[in-house]
C-alpha cells in the first residue's frame, strides 16, 4: 500500500526520504549501490531510475546494437528494455547482481525482436550470398569494417536462436555458462546451439571444413 501511494504521488516518497526540492539525477553519486537505487525506484523515485539508466545504458546499447538495423531501432529497443526493467522492478529479488538481471531482460527482448522480425519476413526467399570465404587468407585481406558487414549480413540469415548465441559468445565474449544464464537455456543446450550455429554460418559463408578445432568451446 505504501509503495502504491508513493507510486501515485512520487512527491510523498521524496518527502519521506527527506529529498524534496532537490530531485536531480546527480544526487546519486557512483557510490550509491544498485540495490539501494532499486529500493528507491520501488518507492516511486524516478530520479533513482534515471541514475540506473545512466549507469547501464552503454552496456545495453552495445549489446542491443548487435541485433538492430539502425540507430532508430536501437533507440526504440533500448527504451523498451528499460521500460520492462521499470515495470518488473518488483520481481528483482536481489539474489544476483542488478546488472546481470537487467542484461537478462535485454537479451530476452533482443531475442523477441529477432523472432518477430523473422515472422515479418514470412516466406520471402533468401537470396544467395554473393561471396564465399575459401580460407583464412581471404578473411585476412578484409578490413575490420568489411568483416563486420559480412558477418552482419550472414548472421541476419541465421535462425534467431543461432544468431543470438553466436552474438553472445563470439562477439560479446560471454562464456557458455554466462550465455546460459542470460538466455535461460541450459549450458549443454547453449553448447549444442553454438556448435550448430557455427556450422550453419560456415555453410552460409562458404567456409570449407578446416581441421578438428571446431566444436564445443
Amino acid at each position: 500500500m505504501k509503495e502504491k501511494i508513493a507510486g501515485t504521488f512520487p512527491v510523498l516518497a521524496r518527502i519521506r526520504l527527506g529529498r524534496y526540492g532537490n530531485p536531480k539525477m546527480g544526487d546519486y553519486s557512483e557510490g550509491v549501490a544498485d540495490e539501494r537505487l532499486v529500493e528507491l525506484v520501488r518507492e516511486g523515485d524516478e530520479d533513482a531510475f534515471s541514475a540506473l539508466v545512466h549507469r547501464y545504458k552503454r552496456k545495453v546499447l552495445l549489446t542491443a546494437s548487435r541485433f538492430v538495423v539502425d540507430s532508430y531501432e536501437l533507440d526504440d529497443v533500448a527504451q523498451e528494455i528499460f521500460i520492462k526493467v521499470y515495470k518488473n522492478i518488483d520481481s528483482y529479488r536481489g539474489d544476483a547482481p542488478f546488472g546481470h538481471w537487467l542484461m537478462r531482460i535485454a537479451v530476452r527482448t533482443c531475442y523477441d525482436l529477432l523472432r518477430s522480425r523473422r515472422r515479418e519476413k514470412g516466406n520471402v526467399p533468401i537470396e544467395e550470398m554473393d561471396f564465399a570465404l575459401s580460407g583464412p587468407a581471404v578473411v585476412d585481406s578484409l578490413s575490420a569494417l568489411q568483416a563486420k558487414d559480412l558477418l552482419d549480413k550472414a548472421l541476419a540469415r541465421l535462425k534467431p536462436e543461432e544468431r543470438l548465441i553466436l552474438t553472445l559468445i563470439e562477439l560479446e565474449g560471454f562464456t557458455s555458462k554466462e550465455a546460459a544464464g542470460l538466455t535461460g537455456w541450459s549450458e549443454a543446450n547453449v553448447k549444442v546451439r553454438s556448435y550448430r550455429a557455427r556450422q550453419a554460418l560456415k555453410k552460409l559463408l562458404g567456409v570449407k571444413e578446416e581441421g578438428k578445432n571446431e566444436g564445443y568451446s
Binding site: T8, F9, M25, E46, S50, V53, H54, K57, R58, L61, L62, S65, R66, S71, L74, D75, A78, Q79, F82, I83, Y86, L133, G135, P136, V138, V139, D140, L142, S143, A144, L145, A147, K148, L150, L151, E170, L171, G173, R198, L201, K202, L205, V207, E210, G211, N213, E214
Partner: protein, 96 residues
Amino acid sequence: MKDTLDILFDKARSMEPDVSRTEFGFETRLMARMRSERERNVPVFEWMWRLVPVFTAITISLGTWYYYVPDNTVDFGTAVIAQMSDPVAAIYMNGE
C-alpha cells in the same frame, strides 16, 4: 591454429559499435516516453485523486458566493422578475 570463422569473429569484435548518437540524451527520451505512456494509462482512481483539488476549489467558491450574496435566490425567473417594475413583470408573466 584459428579457423576462418574465428578470424572473422576476431576482426568483427575489434570494431566496437558506435552508439554515441543513441547514448546522447537517452535518459531524457526514455523518461519522456515513460511519462507519456503513464499519462495514457492513468487509472480511474488516480484521476479521482487528481480532481480532488478542483472539486475542493469549486466547493469553496460556491460556499463563499452563497455566504456573501445577500439574496440567496436560486430561482432564475424570480431573480429576473424582482428587478422589473410591476407592469413589465405582468407582461412577462402573461407571456405577452
